[in-house]
């Protein structure tokens, strides 16, 4: 069963709505809360970025939060209506030549056109939208806004008849005798119709306030995206700061709470002479070769700043899911009903039984050894500045990642797998840092490990290629001491590759892809859990399609980590 309401107040709109929006027509769009002034009446949803978006700008749908609750079906209606605009809408038009009444009418007609085209592909949407045109909340009466609402209903629902002469005249005008007119209409033809029919209703001298007008029913956005920008217009409901709040800029925001300021990138410092690093090459895709000894990686223990994290041992669901992975099991000598080779002693016994006229024991084969060595897992935790930003549950990403790492380590340890963990960040190629959270032979439940995790702070950037090479070296060192384990490196990150001395898009991604291939050549698999709002597809070109998974929150860990470690579910 679907929940009835959308939880308001979460840091980001529930991912299910975004997935629904993108699945409808495969068009990119962001969904964010509309942070308007509260208590000033209902707000309309706002679609920015135009139907198909401006160059370099992702269309964004802003959902109002001024209503007490958002029913899921209402939210789906908002999202699907905006998606219809994206899919079937046209470029913004100039307002010149149309009076406010005609502009409002054009908005209703354009809404009806994109909805008719959407319903032709997805007929179920008509039922979703129609529910909001009827019922007690539907506008009634003979005012201009009520007539527009009545027109909107009659244009959406072919089975609905409205007795008002003007509504009927518009319906006949745009739908035509065969009822298919909206499917064939163009924005230009609808603008012409709005001009003529709007003039008609203008003669009725009905009051209309364009400043307070909002389209009905409420799932429809404010239609500002239909028009070219006009500096003389009253301001939209959309506060400008809403865009910036969603950005991924790593600059210090002086208006941010103190906790976020502290998490901003630290000024660069030269590495201490007493802490020499390990030099790794880096792949430069522009010249098509490695730059030798290009990145300096320092491996240092994280500072335990306690108190230790709570909530141990690992959640039963995670432990149960990981228990299905191949692991250290007992090799059992003896006989089995099925196998590769016959068991000589069992054959002798069977022959004796047959000669005595007894049914032989069916266990005639040598018991097979259990396939699959246990795992040796390196968890690499992203501690860059972007992990200070709020995740889906409102708390900083790093705070959400900490228990995920702790639970994973505890569960893997309980099941007999080897595990180690580091946190990583960088401040240019000469200052890539891996902070040791847990060594291979350390207990995952040791207070020191928990204190190191608890003391971790965000800062710096994300240079995954160098990090991965160092982690690979750590894996190979451990493999020399403990051969026979299946080795895998798991990145827990928001997936945003960036460093202060890299200005070329795709440079770090190309290096990461190279580093993954180096790991594969050594038989070490690389996997990534990408914490929302980061998206796994950002790393898929580097790691491979099956090697990345999204993580909307720690609760998903039990589902995603075993899938990554064990393959598909």
């Amino acid at each position: 069963m679907r929940p009835a309401e959308v939880p308001i107040g979460a840091a980001s709109v529930p991912a299910g709505l975004g997935a629904y929006q993108q699945a409808l027509w495969g068009l990119p769009a962001r969904l964010v809360w509309l942070e308007g002034p509260g208590g000033q009446g209902e707000q309309a949803p706002v679609l920015t970025g135009g139907p198909s978006g401006l160059p370099g700008m992702v269309p964004t749908l802003h959902l109002p939060v001024s209503v007490p609750v958002l029913p899921w079906r209402w939210a789906e209606a908002v999202v699907s209506h905006a998606a219809a605009h994206q899919r079937f809408g046209a470029a913004p038009q100039p307002r010149a030549g149309l009076k406010p009444v005609q502009q409002a009418l054009y908005g209703v007609l354009e809404d009806a056109r994109v909805e008719a085209l959407a319903c032709a592909e997805l007929p179920g949407l008509r039922g979703l939208w129609s529910a909001f045109h009827a019922g007690p909340d539907a506008l009634q009466g003979l005012g201009f806004e009520a007539l527009l609402a009545r027109l909107a209903r009659v244009l959406l629902d072919p089975g609905w008849h409205d007795p008002h002469p003007w509504v009927e005249k518009v319906r006949r005008g745009v739908q035509g005798p065969d009822g298919l007119g909206l499917l064939q209409a163009t924005p230009a033809s609808l603008r012409q119709a709005a001009s003529v029919l709007g003039h008609d209703i203008g003669q009725m001298r009905l009051p209309f306030n364009p400043r307070s007008y909002r389209p009905h029913p409420g799932y429809r956005d404010d239609n500002q995206h239909l028009w070219c920008w006009d500096p003389d217009l009253p301001p939209s409901d959309l506060p400008l700061q809403g865009e910036a709040a969603q950005g991924r800029d790593t600059q210090v925001d002086l208006q941010a709470p103190p906790s976020l300021q502290a998490a901003a990138p630290l000024p660069s410092e030269p590495p201490p002479a007493t802490a020499p690093g390990v030099w790794h090459p880096e792949w430069d895709r522009r010249i098509g070769r490695y730059r030798p000894a290009w990145c300096c990686v320092r491996v240092e223990p994280a500072v335990p700043r306690g108190p230790a994290l709570a909530g141990f041992p690992a959640p039963p669901a995670l432990r149960a899911a990981l228990a299905r992975l191949p692991g250290p099991r007992q090799r059992a000598p003896g006989c089995a009903r099925e196998g590769e080779a016959l068991h000589p002693a069992a054959l002798v016994d069977a022959a004796l039984d047959l000669r005595r006229g007894h049914a032989p024991d069916p266990r005639l084969y040598q018991r097979q050894r259990v396939q699959g060595a246990p795992l040796a897992v390196s968890l690499l935790l992203d501690a860059s500045a972007s992990t200070a930003e709020p995740g889906p549950d409102g708390q900083p990403l790093l705070a959400a990642l900490r228990p995920s790492v702790a639970h994973s380590l505890a569960a893997l340890q309980a099941l007999g797998h080897r595990q180690a963990a580091w946190a990583f960040a960088s401040r240019g190629r000469l200052q890539v840092t891996l902070q040791g959270l847990k060594a291979w032979d350390e207990s995952a439940l040791a207070p020191e490990v928990q204190a190191r995790l608890a003391g971790l702070q965000s800062g710096g950037s994300t240079r995954l290629g160098a990090v991965l090479r160092q982690a690979l070296q750590e894996q190979l060192d451990d493999a020399a001491r403990h051969p026979g384990w299946r080795r895998v490196i798991v990145l827990l990150t928001d997936g945003e590759l960036h460093d202060i001395d890299v200005h070329e898009a795709g440079y770090l991604q190309a290096d990461l892809a190279r580093a993954c291939r180096e790991a594969a050549r050594h038989g070490v698999a690389v996997r990534a859990l990408v914490l929302a709002p980061g998206r796994p597809q950002a790393l898929r070109p580097c790691l491979g399609a099956g090697a990345c998974a999204g993580l909307d929150g720690p609760a998903q860990l039990a589902r995603q980590l075993p899938r990554l470690l064990g393959g598909h579910g």
Binding site: G16, A23, G124, G127, L128, L342, D552, R563
Partner: protein, 284 residues
């Protein structure tokens, strides 16, 4: 190790050893490109074929169709993580008269000249895949070490394997040493009109219903970046259409055959259900 041909086959009884594997009716397959010619060319050259593509897009049906076109039996093996070399090659069995050798499906196909289709090969154990090496190159032999036999493949033997690059378990990628022995054909879901025709034909439903199901299927495939491992396959859409033909309302059939099986994750379930309602309307 002795070399054998079909005449000395341990299980040849005079009757057709592959009778159970022969296809008596043409399996329906709608070509989407030049894959039929490509497969026939590989068969003529006795080159093994690797089929890549998502689950339920028609790989297995294509192999069935090609086996029927070539008039060869088809031996199919669904590979899994416990599939061993012995499962493919064969093993000794015990009966009242003592031990006797029984060919595995690969040995059976190689000995008597069948198409051997190993579905999802990367799932098999390493010892099983290594067994294919001498069979998949110019030697075309299968060493049956436990029997002391070097089996030379029948001229009509053709090795076909499939795998899905979209999901691979840890350390389960196809190794270059195996990959480079095969010619390969890339499969994907057909474009909408073709897929609707396939769904209508397979399930025996009207084309408009099939088109609606395909519209739903295409939308589920866009959820890959939102955590859905794979969207609805053509096979799932056929199942949904079959349920409608059996009397279920289309929305209920799509929920049962598509939305509910695709994911256990509550958020994705909610999205999938909303997509079903966008296509077929809300229940009731």
């Amino acid at each position: 190790m002795r070399a054998t041909a079909e005449a000395s086959a341990p299980c040849a009884t005079g009757a057709d050893a592959l009778a159970a594997w022969r296809l008596h009716q043409e399996p329906f397959y709608q070509p989407v490109g030049d894959e039929v010619n490509a497969f026939e060319a590989a068969a003529a050259c006795r080159l093994p074929v690797l089929l890549k593509g998502p689950t339920g897009c028609g790989k297995t049906r294509f192999v069935e169709h090609m086996a029927w076109r070539l008039q060869r039996p088809l031996v199919t093996v669904a590979c899994h993580e416990d599939l061993s070399a012995g499962d493919l090659a064969g093993r000794w069995l015990l009966d009242a008269q003592g031990t006797h050798w029984q060919d595995g499906p690969l040995a059976l196909a190689a000995r008597h000249g069948a198409v051997c289709y190993l579905d999802e090969l990367v799932e098999a154990r390493a010892d099983a895949t290594v067994l294919l090496h001498p069979l998949a190159d110019t030697r075309r032999v299968l060493p049956l070490e436990r029997r002391g036999e070097l089996l030379h493949a029948h001229p009509d033997f053709l090795l076909v394997v499939s795998y899905n690059p979209g999901y691979q378990g840890l350390h389960k990628a196809l190794k270059p040493s195996m990959r480079q022995r095969f010619t390969a054909l890339q499969f994907d879901y057909p474009e909408a009109a073709q897929e609707a025709a396939v769904v209508a034909r397979e399930a025996g439903v009207e084309l408009p219903l099939a088109q609606q199901l395909v519209a739903l299927g295409q939308r589920t495939r866009r959820l890959h970046d939102h955590g859905l491992e794979e969207g609805a396959s053509t096979r799932m859409l056929v199942h949904a259409a079959a349920l409608v033909r059996a009397g279920l309302p289309p929305g209920a059939a799509a929920l049962q055959a598509v939305a509910t099986p695709l994911s256990d994750e509550p958020g994705l379930q909610r999205t999938l259900q909303a997509l079903v309602e966008a296509v077929f309307g809300a229940p009731g």
